[in-house]
């Protein structure tokens, strides 16, 4: 397996990527890497390698083929510590197309600073490379609860611990181009917040009989939903 790098449409490797190729991986002219670019996967032969810049030639290209067939948007609560990052990493590998970070009344974490956002972007990029997705998920600005529903796309599902009847697996929207999934923060969503979601057309679903921590809930729900949607 060759090393994979996510690049833009111009196929240019960044200085960080050049440094990694030259200094960390110690690749040489003639070695091959894989570029992931805008839905394509390209075999790329290195012609010039230095820590400042790398140049090469595309020797084969094919559709990346690993993007899910349905656009999944994840409304991700800001979580304490590194829990949001953990979800971001796994959910990007699983195929989420867009993250909408948000806070609600019981949120503990409330801010996504510039440094942390940069870190999120780096984590998402690495997860795309791991999972051969060839397209970076978008990370929207942080929203509040009512505002969130203007940002979501397609059919919206809200996972709620107090819902005991309708299971996620029985509520998977069929035939939609886009599906949005909302997971609550550590302290949960309030009944008023869930009412507002319902008035915005969201379906409220259960993730099963066991209460889950927010990050487990997010990864588990994305996994179940993607498995059902991307067939």
């Amino acid at each position: 397996m060759t090393h994979r790098f996510l690049v833009g449409r111009d196929l240019a490797l960044s200085t960080d990527q050049a440094r990694q190729i030259a200094t960390v991986l110690r690749l040489r002219p003639g070695d091959q890497v894989t570029l992931l670019a805008d839905g394509e996967e390209l075999d790329y032969r290195l012609d010039q390698v230095s820590a400042a810049a790398v140049a090469g030639t595309v020797v084969a290209r094919r559709p990346a083929g690993a993007e899910p067939r349905v656009r999944l948007v994840l409304a991700l609560p800001l979580l304490r510590g590194e829990h949001s990052e953990l979800v971001l990493e796994s959910a990007t590998q699983l195929g989420v197309a867009r993250f909408v970070p948000y806070t609600s009344s019981r949120s503990v974490a409330r801010e996504l600073g510039t440094e942390k956002r940069k870190r999120w972007e780096r984590i998402a990029r690495e997860a795309v490379e791991t999972s051969r997705r060839a397209r970076l998920p978008e990370i929207a600005p942080v929203m509040g609860w009512p505002q969130l529903f203007e940002e979501l796309e397609g059919d919206t599902l809200v996972a709620w611990e107090e819902e005991h009847t309708l299971r996620l697996g029985d509520a998977v929207p069929r035939g939609s181009d886009a599906v949005s999934l909302v997971i609550g923060p550590e302290g949960g969503l309030t009944p008023d917040e869930v009412d507002l979601a319902r008035r915005n057309g969201a379906q409220v679903v259960s993730l099963g009989r066991r209460p889950l921590r927010a990050e487990t809930a997010a990864i588990a729900a994305v996994a179940e939903l993607i498995a059902a949607l991307d067939r």
Copy 2:
């Protein structure tokens, strides 16, 4: 929501739990906690509270109701850093009944020392309390690859990146009391190892078109499997 504590059949709270009740949570006689004991959930009124010992009275008991209907065994590769712990935490919340840690030829991490095993047990206990399961999952000794198949129970599924046809969701065993799931280590399983699994009767399945890191694969596969089995 009251605080939940996993205890044995004798309902005795450990000194660690007593200290948490007295010193961290600062509960007083008359306050109530929830005990999770051997499949039951009990409302427990505190009568005496000190950092050394707590005594109380059961005021109500009911079946815990959160154990999955099927016994799921997870063969969990020893992973680098804290990745195994992460899987252990999420997979316990999701409902895994037994963990069988193992190493195979491409494993990077190879040992589960006494301290680390204690840490695993603490993580599993906390995850049981989070998810109201009332039964601690077993953590088996570390196995090698061939030996592993003597330890697994029921129908066995092996998730493999090189399997592209049969999806996990299409291979869920029906009518089994127990199902075992094997996830590969960071470096993946070798074709020889997968052959040996097949000769031991295992079904080899795909987790979808995107390569996943081992810990994402484990949590996603457990989530999908439990959602299908525990209905």
